[in-house]
Symmetry: C2
Subunit: 262 residues, 2 copies
Amino acid sequence: MTAIDFAAFVDELATVSGETILPFFRTSLTVDNKKPGGFDPVTAADRAAENAMRALIRRTFPGHGIVGEEYGNERTDAEYVWALDPIDGTKSFINGMPTWGTLIGLLRLGEPVFGMMHQPFMRERFSGDGGAAHYRGPGGKRDLRVRPCAAIEDALLQTTSPLLMNEADRAAFRRVEQNVKLSRYGGDCYAYCMLACGHIDLVIETELKPHDILPLIPIITGAGGIVTSWDNGSPHAGGRVVAAGDKRVHRAALEILNRKNQ
Amino acid sequence: MTAIDFAAFVDELATVSGETILPFFRTSLTVDNKKPGGFDPVTAADRAAENAMRALIRRTFPGHGIVGEEYGNERTDAEYVWALDPIDGTKSFINGMPTWGTLIGLLRLGEPVFGMMHQPFMRERFSGDGGAAHYRGPGGKRDLRVRPCAAIEDALLQTTSPLLMNEADRAAFRRVEQNVKLSRYGGDCYAYCMLACGHIDLVIETELKPHDILPLIPIITGAGGIVTSWDNGSPHAGGRVVAAGDKRVHRAALEILNRKNQ
């Protein structure tokens, strides 16, 4: 069984999670704080959607493992492991902004082989398997392809918020920011999908959890892009991540990020 | 003729502009730079939509004035003057992000009496006349109402980007940011509408043009919110603007913004 056989099942997971989440969007929510003193909202929608997806996975593929945002890990030594983030961009969700999404990833022997970002409010699905990437939405279907960008000076950069970075990382990010054509904030998972669509050239973030990035990797690479850690290693563990549509921009961004303080 | 009679006509303007803009969204665009060295994209969509709206206004109300982003002012001494911004959030538009909108405002004797923010990709319309405000979208229709927020420490703050502010304004903004519960970036006109919906409590921006804010004023005030300049004056001219859902948060934000440097 190859990864591509799972595409229809991922669509089913996306439909189930979207139907679970959408009634909660732009309504009064009970917001819990995971970290005392911090603002890391977990909504009832987040939990309900992860429960619904976990139940469907267990029922359909009882031998598969699951790594989820809300309910932890199970059977992570299985051949196939699902990475779930029901609401990536919970702060956007709370603010009523539509730029959040449901992340569903499938790993085989530790490698992300299929991923989807589903935005149920806008009815958009971005998916990829590392070899190709696709979009379905109100405007129809199409293949996703990154765009060429020869120099970092021409690049459009996006990050969710510099406020999410520690001081040292923020200083390194600011150096990149000073070298690009335009830097914009906001977006969470949506920004990586705009990179896969060829609208932006560079996404730089920190403090990511594995489930924040794993489902996006096959979309980014399927569209012809590149995604690594800041030290040019595997991005699978999350943390500090650089995604680019063009490897020349990727190389330039890594060089600037890793420059010693000037 | 009272302002409310114009509601159906504003819907028509929104439909015409949306049909004009949408085919350009997420396609290759010719991006001009208005300012040499700056990045202030003007798209073909922006111009075509303003032309379409101007033509419809001239045909229907030949005596009305128009203030537009792309094609300047005409008959600004007329009793009724339209304020048009076909794509508020051009940078989001260019980046493929959906959080831009078409702003259509109507002034009578210089006072904004009706406004609409139309997001054609998501098929959402936010409108207001200073006395009430309404939403139509995929989830149906509803009245807009700001939410109470007693203290700035509980407030969710949004701004498009601190990078758009000059250094002194950014320092003042940072002081507010340190006092709120959560600060988020991005959104342009969309953020003010989320305030009118009661999802966020505070929007602080600078460098606004009159057409960036005039159409939003009747939506914000119609939903029960307040919007002024940073010195608590009229926001009609744009510039530095503070919008809040609760006047207690508005007052606290003004106090912090106008504090002498600490």
